[in-house]
């Protein structure tokens, strides 16, 4: 039992407590030290990793769009911090986090964040570099920051076991390479290369990504549909929803229907996934892929 001694309450917490007396609802809960640190996540991969460690962030940026995509649900009382690229500093300071989780994407606001609380930031998604190992390492690194190193190793172990299990079930599908795409419009797709989380997960499961040149573009590039013709043997994995007018246009498109994977029924659909997620998204992708191929 930790009592709130002179060092137990931060100056900010005192102010906030006073504020709560004035206007209820404007102030956050008062919290003693020694309890698990309060975490605010700007980056979604960080938020997912924290959730995977069973340490729900008190606040997440762009919560509105994070919720429907998140493989592990954030706590109902989670505070929305606004846009990831421009988080609401007032909302963030009301949360009074002990640590802010960020990534290389938000390097340009890191100085600003650092004035509120220590920032834990890692480089996760970089063009031409595989994010999968980084996401795996992040489990251990974040667990360290949260003061629970053992949980990090346990989570890594669990992820390996889960992936291996799914990989065994898919081992019969290793004969053909996979093409992971997202439909943009009727003429353009995004193809996930090895420098995407999904491409990396695929490789980690012992499967082959047909799109080896993904490195030439950004990690998720809008590519003309005709480029798919170069992969007649591939299994086509379609991620996310397709807008209604595109569905209609594709139904009649000669080129799309002539693509060998489409013609021969090697087209599989997966739900929308967080393309910039952490290990939970990687596992959900592996899960969904296994489910789609099994049916």
């Amino acid at each position: 039992m930790v009592t709130a001694g002179p060092q137990g309450l931060t100056r900010r917490a005192c102010l906030v407590a006073a504020a709560m007396a004035v206007v209820t609802g404007w102030a956050p809960r008062v919290r003693a030290q020694g309890v698990a640190p309060r975490v605010a996540a700007i980056d979604w991969a960080m938020a997912e990793t924290a959730l995977a460690l069973d340490h729900a962030p008190a606040a997440i940026a762009e919560l509105l769009r994070f919720r429907p995509l998140a493989p592990l649900p954030p706590a109902p009382a989670t505070v929305d911090l606004g846009l990831r690229g421009a988080p609401n500093i007032e909302a963030l300071s009301l949360v009074a986090p002990d640590v802010i989780l960020s990534s290389n994407y938000y390097a340009f606001i890191e100085d600003r964040l650092a004035t509120l609380a220590p920032v834990f930031s890692r480089t996760i998604y970089v063009p031409r570099e595989a994010p999968f190992p980084r996401v795996m390492t992040l489990l251990a690194e974040l667990a360290e920051v949260l003061g629970r190193p053992a949980d990090g190793l346990r989570a890594q172990e669990a992820a390996h076991v889960r992936l291996d299990g799914l990989a065994r079930r898919l081992s019969g599908h290793a004969d053909r390479p996979f093409l992971l795409i997202e439909i943009g419009d009727a003429r353009h797709v995004r193809i996930f290369g090895d420098d995407s989380l999904f491409g990396g997960t695929l490789t980690a499961m012992g499967l082959r990504n047909a799109w080896s040149e993904g490195t030439r573009f950004a990690f998720a590039a809008p590519v003309p549909l005709e480029r798919l013709a170069a992969f007649p043997d591939a299994r086509l994995i379609l991620l996310g929803e397709v807008p209604p007018h595109v569905t209609r246009a594709l139904r009649d498109a000669a080129l799309w229907n002539a693509l060998p994977p489409v013609r021969h029924g090697r087209l599989h659909r997966l739900p929308a996934l967080n393309g910039f997620g952490g290990m939970p998204t990687a596992l959900r992708f592996a899960d969904a892929l296994t489910g789609a191929l099994a049916t």
Partner: protein, 655 residues
């Protein structure tokens, strides 16, 4: 002379050669499929050729022709060599309508994009034409109104794009105007509309010829002006909307094609209306051929619309000096409104007091998790510095933009002059984007430097150009707009690359105060005061200049140097403010007009009044961004646009 005549056939041969090169690299001639095609029996390269490369080549010709005809029709009916679907806001209207429909009512787009695109195009075009009618269709005013309406539509579309991640990819490709095809249906749709359109245009050619003699003569010859104008514009807008719906934003072909037709010696409206579609088809085919060949050789596959946009800016600059002969000698007049205030000092004083009260209110009032309310005093230490910083920066930016607008409007004697029109914002955006893409994780200082350098380069180019052409005010504005068009084309290409870093640029383009530090805010405020002081010292110049260059010279004004100095000051103010607000804002347009309507007429009064009003407007805008969709900060540029745009229309509607 013979060379000029040979340009079109030569370009066509070149375009076809480029297409043929790409097609033969795709599939050797011997393997080309024989007619009739049997899709099921075809190999993939054969399908790529007959349902990819072939319709792409055809649609480039058809879309180019449609845009060329649309541009020629608009130019004929408005008697304005600068009119085309891009400069009249037609294309931007289609873009906004399609973006909005994609986000809010995707069901509307299931069968066809055309009705939505047409509605959007018609709306913005009618707006621009209506505004132009109030000023007797003076070409430069119409063009500026059109480009401003276009800017506004694009700003709203950007903000909508930003607020939704869902269908973003299709929006991005659409903005870039990609010509990639996967079947022949687009080709048939375009052809089915283009053929009757050309016939209609031929029918309209005779009455349009009568119109070119002037309204009175045309009426005397029995032409029903309203009907003729309406029919011609509807046809032109429909053509432009058709291309927008099929392919996206392909800028400036409608401007280039009639210009080419004219320089090839097409004199009568009929000749122009028939030659312009051919020229447009050749121009777009050539542009697309270059891109196809580049991609076929392993280069990047860029959207064609980005390339035509790149050509558009320089083209406008090239056309400007050749405009004089074709533009009626009418002076582009300014508005004369309310009389001079009897005690301007008192007016400015009250303005300042109101602004001060506003500042206090904006600092304390706000929105939190529980709703609206005043910040409790216990949180002052945390909140007030944040808010004060954002407010100071935004208000300084507002004052800077307002002063730039006031100077430009006096300098050019044109009520539509505004800082975003100077091209400085476009240059700054390019500089910012360059830093984002060149450095791995750029800091604020690097970004600021990049944007300032970009703005300065644009300004230098503009000044050099303007000096050569004796700084004719209207040309200066159009040259600025041309630079802006060039910048937005490059930015469109960047967006089309779908790089994660494009988001950073996109976010900045709609403006944000989130990254301002107290030091930057203070520096900006210092700059605003410094520029105000300098401008007050130059107030006498500003008093004389609107009277015309002859009066100025007679009074011994160093005309060129005075103009140059003022342009540079306005540019500096704009560039600095742009860093913060992003490229679009109407504060610079509004504030000087508001000051004038309060009776602040003399330059020093107008400058002080504009600065205070600009600061207050921007303060209000920050409040809106912070509260309207808490905790999601809205783009500051968007708020400023939303506050400023209605003003633009009221202004243009007043005679």
């Amino acid at each position: 002379m013979t060379l000029t005549r040979a340009i079109l056939p030569l370009a066509l041969v070149l375009a076809m050669a480029l297409w043929g090169f790409t097609a033969l690299r795709l599939l050797p001639w011997a393997q080309w499929p024989a007619l009739p095609w049997q899709v099921d029996a075809m190999s993939v390269p054969q399908i790529l050729l007959s349902y990819g490369a072939m319709p792409r080549g055809a649609i480039a010709l058809l879309a180019g022709a449609a845009l060329g005809l649309a541009g020629a029709l608009m130019q004929a009916v408005l008697r304005n060599p600068l009119a085309d679907p891009t400069t009249l806001g037609t294309a931007a209207g289609a873009q906004l309508a399609l973006v909005a429909a994609t986000i809010f009512t995707p069901g509307l787009l299931v069968t066809s994009h055309l009705p939505v695109a047409f509605a959007g195009s018609a709306l913005t075009t009618v707006l621009v034409i209506w505004l132009g009618a109030r000023r007797d269709f003076a070409p430069v005013t119409v063009t500026i109104a059109g480009l401003l309406v276009g800017l506004m539509a694009a700003a709203i579309a950007t903000a909508l794009t930003l607020s939704q991640g869902h269908y973003l990819l299709s929006l991005i490709m659409w903005n870039g105007g990609a010509l990639t095809q996967t079947d022949w249906r687009g080709v048939w749709r375009l052809a089915a509309c283009l053929v009757p359109a050309v016939i209609l245009a031929a029918v309209l050619a005779r009455p349009l010829m009568a119109l070119s003699l002037g309204d009175a003569q045309a009426r005397a010859l029995g032409v029903r002006l309203a009907g003729l104008r309406g029919a011609t514009l509807v046809l032109a807008v429909a053509l432009s909307a058709l291309v927008s719906a099929e392919l996206g934003l392909i800028g400036f072909v409608g401007l280039a094609a009639p210009a080419l037709a004219r320089s090839l010696g097409a004199r009568s409206p009929l000749q122009r209306l028939m030659l312009a579609p051919i020229a447009g088809a050749v121009i777009l085919s050539l542009a697309d051929g270059v891109l196809m060949a580049t991609a076929s050789l392993g280069g990047p596959s860029l959207p064609t619309g980005a390339l035509t946009g790149l050509i558009g800016g320089p083209l406008l600059l090239w056309l400007l000096p050749r405009m004089t002969a074709q533009v009626p000698g009418r002076v582009e007049q300014g508005v004369q409104t309310a009389g001079r205030a009897r005690q301007p000092g008192r007016v400015i004083g009250s303005l300042a007091l109101v602004t001060l009260a506003l500042v206090l209110g904006l600092l304390l009032l706000g929105r939190g998790p529980a709703g609206w309310g005043l910040v409790p005093s216990a949180l002052w230490a945390d909140f007030l510095p944040l808010r004060a910083t954002a407010l100071l920066a935004a208000m300084s930016a507002g004052a800077l933009l307002a002063m730039a607008g006031a100077v430009l409007q006096r300098l050019t004697a044109n009520p539509m002059a505004a800082p975003e029109v100077l091209g400085v914002t476009g240059g700054a955006a390019l500089g910012y984007a360059a830093v984002v893409f060149l450095l791995a994780a750029p800091g604020i200082m690097a970004l600021a430097l990049g944007a300032a350098t970009g703005g300065a380069l644009a300004l230098t180019g503009l000044a050099a150009y303007a000096l050569r052409h004796d700084m004719a005010p209207a040309r200066l504005l159009l040259a600025g707009l041309a630079i802006g068009a060039l910048a937005s084309a490059v930015l469109a290409a960047i967006m089309a690359s779908d790089d994660r870093r494009a988001w950073v640029v996109l976010g900045w383009m709609s403006g944000t105060t989130a990254q301002v530090t107290p030091a930057t805010a203070l520096a900006l405020a210092g700059l605003a005061l410094g520029i105000l002081t300098l401008l007050l010292l130059a107030a006498r110049w500003l008093e004389i200049m609107p009277l015309g260059s002859a009066v100025g010279q007679a009074l011994g004004l160093p005309l060129i140097w005075a103009r140059l100095a003022l342009v540079l000051l306005a540019g500096l103010a704009t560039g600095a403010a742009t860093l913060l607000v992003g490229p679009v804002s109407f504060v610079g347009l509004m504030a000087p007009h508001l000051a004038r309507s309060l009776g602040l007429m003399r330059p020093h009064h107008a400058l002080c009044g504009s600065a205070v009003i600009g600061a207050a407007l921007m303060g209000l805008a920050t409040f809106g961004t912070r509260t309207l969709s808490y905790p999601y900060d809205l783009p500051l540029g968007l708020m400023a646009t939303l506050i400023g745009a209605p003003w633009l229309f009221i202004l243009l509607l007043r005679k």
